[in-house]
Amino acid sequence: MGLFKQFKHTKNTLKNGEKQEQLVDPPDIPTFPVSLDMKKNLRYVKETLHYTEDLVEKTLKTALPGSLHLFYIETMSDTEKLSSNLYQKLKSIDTETELHRTLQDMDSAKIVHLSDAVSELLSGKSILLLEGKNHCYILSTNSVIKRDVSEPDNEQVIRGSHSGFIENIGVNIQLVRNLISHPSLIVNYSTLGELSRTKTAMLYMDGRADPEVVEEIKRRLKKIKVDKLMNNGVIEEYMEDNIYSLFPQYISTERADRAALNLLDGRVLIMTDGDPTVLVLPVTFFSFFQSTDDYNSRWVAGNFFRLIRVISFLLAVTLPGIYIAIISFHYEIIPFGMTYVIKDAVEHIPYPPLVEAMIMELTLELIREAGIRLPTPIGQTIGIVGGLVIGDAVVNAGFISSIMIIVVALTAISSFVVPVHEMSMAMRLLRYPVMIMASILGFLGIVFCLTIYLIHLCKLTSIGKPFFYPFAPLDGKGLLNRFIRLPHTVHLDKKQNQSQKSSGSSKSQ
């Protein structure tokens, strides 16, 4: 991977005197203090928003002298709140104090610059202008669209909480706070994206998260310069230590309980408004093979299934390569009884095993990719067409050996075992180099490839923490904690938790 050292990427290294160029100029709203001339104010608001047609302007009358002017964007605001809290009370307002009390009920804020108020208007608040006053009020009338906090489709568990994050950052933080009611849980907001102005939050537990990691994440968040931030994908790349690596260095999850458990382990969460997935950093290689199910089921079973997941990783990466190596270099190792069965199967395949495997793997990826986007009924059809028809026909036609179909099917199943989607994508990519090397050098090639992977894994870091932790700085206690799921009644001493804080500890998901 030293090869990639040649590509300069300036993510974390700002050269002296070199300014990062701005992709987009900040929106051009010069400051505009609230004028005493109401006409100017009204025109200013409407011009700033380019006379957009969902801007509603209302003139309200009270017993007080001078009328009130109300602005709100009807698509963003909750008119229910306005009518119950403002319109119905207007009749009873006859003094300044009465007006202030009413506005306080509306959770109002006094603002001197109309230019600031306009940007608040865009997030669904309303502007209330009073004649003859050089300030205005903004009323919180935002309406929020929420869906149910239902279980995420791609991270289901048998037992455990069935709530998942949604597209609203406030609700997401609430879900986490419900699980961790502790004063040391800290939320840091920041706004990213020049055009989209997306709110992001960083959550961590003070005293559990490593301060260095927290600082580093803050630093990297500040560096992000994009004009639109619609989801976590952008943040991920800024957070990774090595973007050229095939291994993901973060976990993205939609499960609230998984996120909360990771927080308790001293990890940091990054949430983005409008995206139900949450980033968890820093992670280790084995975090990807843990599921909340391990901790909700009995510990022997939990261990067994965790082991199955790790084995599935090895299978998914090496199985096609091993098969290719065996039938083109080392068929001596096939047991007596199977030799002729396999020879029968591969006798009339018209091309080398590598090509055969590639065709099948790529076909499978096609079917998978097609199945994702399609509605369920058609998706099932695709599954049947792909699985049964292509699989069976291709063997009968003599293009692909039946053993190759078995190998590819096993590989595919193993690559879907891992609970985290990013890792399963990585596994699918990792097997192609192994296949190519196996077809060139047989087992030797597989060993080369796996050695390179291992070296890379040992070198990889996630926010400066070792990625291959219980193995790559070898730590016996860590192995007991991370690799094996001990019964909840067994407590290892807390010392190593302190030393290995946030590079993972016992109850990491």
């Binding site: 090869l3 039938i327 083109s328 068929y331 001596e332 029968d344 006798e347 077809s439």
Partner: protein, 368 residues
């Protein structure tokens, strides 16, 4: 800098030839082979390889022979007769024709030991006749000949008729001056192959043979007990019907001890083979095994019989000059001076070997 690195990497990956790949589909796998010595002194090598279903030949296996001055040359001649490359890595059985075994077996085996991919785990057996005859024999209603032979030898091992031998295991024994090898001896009965006992070797030359029963007893005296070993002995002469005169035993456990004494005065070597067998009667129509004295009687009767047979076996062994029990090895280790002063090959036929076989009947069946 970037371009040359990438380019060289690409070249390294893409232009590395797959010259040494051996595609399974381009290879004829010899499942069993026979080596023979023809009358004109040339070697003949015969292989049998299964034919894939896809070729839909009537024969389920092809058998080819090649002749040459050396085994390698014979192999080359074979290669010329087969469309694909012949590979012996998955060979299960290697049959040596008796004419070849009677001269010497090491030179033809030399090929196997030099090729890193040859199947050293293949079973090896001597055939009473030309080995090609056995390979070419057509078996009706049985699996392919090669598999049949392999399983036949497997069963023989578990019945302790022959030692567990393969191409690798016999090599050190052939070169051991104080030990000789006994190989399975196959023959034909009608048109089906069967095991007819053990082939006795002196060094790398076959010099005699033993029957199946004798081979079993010899294996027991060597301390090799298979998982299902049976012996049948005639213990009475007075019963009216034939089976009642016999007892069939299943061996539960054996204990062997080989004691070799050298008298330095007279240069006489005496070897004593102690063998204690714990047996179970699995067929004995005469029964009456609940009485202790009957059991004791039977034990003595069996001991007499076995000792008699053992002496017979030893004389056969000495006639063939086959030191199957490894007596020479013990002489070499415990009496090196004596070993150096004699030629063991000449001494062995004249030494005294005494059997001492004890039989204990421990199981009586399930009736009582």
């Amino acid at each position: 800098m970037k371009r040359p690195v990438l380019l060289s990497l690409a070249l390294l990956i893409l232009l590395t030839g797959c010259w040494d790949s051996r595609q399974l589909r381009d290879i004829t796998i010899a499942k069993s082979a026979a080596l023979d010595l023809l009358e004109d002194g040339k070697y003949q090598s015969t292989i049998s390889s299964p034919v894939p279903k896809q070729h839909e030949a009537e024969e389920r296996s092809q058998k080819v022979s090649g002749v040459g001055h050396t085994i390698r040359e014979a192999r080359m001649a074979l290669d010329g007769k087969v469309s694909e490359r012949i590979d012996t890595a998955k060979m299960r059985v290697l049959v040596l024709g008796e004419p070849l075994a009677r001269t010497n077996i090491y030179p033809p085996l030399d090929v196997m030991y030099r090729d890193p991919r040859s199947s050293l785990g293949a079973k090896i057996a001597v055939y009473d006749g030309m080995g090609s005859e056995l390979i070419n024999s057509k078996l009706t209603d049985k699996p392919r000949t090669s598999e049949f032979l392999a399983e036949l030898l497997d069963t023989a091992e578990s019945n302790s008729i022959v030692d567990k031998v393969n191409v690798q295991l016999i090599c050190p024994i052939i070169f051991d001056p104080g030990q000789d090898v006994v190989l399975p001896y196959l023959g034909m009965e009608g048109d089906t192959p069967r095991l007819i006992g053990g082939a006795l070797f002196n060094g790398d030359t076959m010099t005699g043979s033993l029957s199946v029963e004798d081979s079993t007893l010899l294996m027991l005296m060597k301390g090799k007990l298979g998982s299902a070993t049976f012996l049948t002995e005639k213990v009475h002469d007075d019963k009216e019907d034939m089976p009642s005169n016999f007892i069939t035993l299943r061996l539960r456990d054996t204990l062997t001890k080989l004691q070799v004494d050298v008298n330095h005065e007279t240069n006489e070597v005496t070897a004593t083979v102690d063998l204690t067998m714990k047996v179970e009667a699995i067929e004995y129509p005469h029964d009456e095994l609940h009485e202790k004295e009957n059991i004791a009687k039977l034990n003595t009767k069996l001991e007499e019989k076995f000792n008699e047979e053992a002496e017979q076996i030893f004389s056969t062994l000495q006639e063939a000059n086959c030191d199957a029990l490894g007596i020479g090895r013990r002489v070499l280790v415990y009496h090196p001076d004596f070993w150096d002063s004699v030629n063991w090959n000449e001494t062995y036929p004249n030494i005294t070997i005494k059997p001492n076989i004890q039989v204990e009947l421990i199981g009586h069946g399930i009736i009582n």
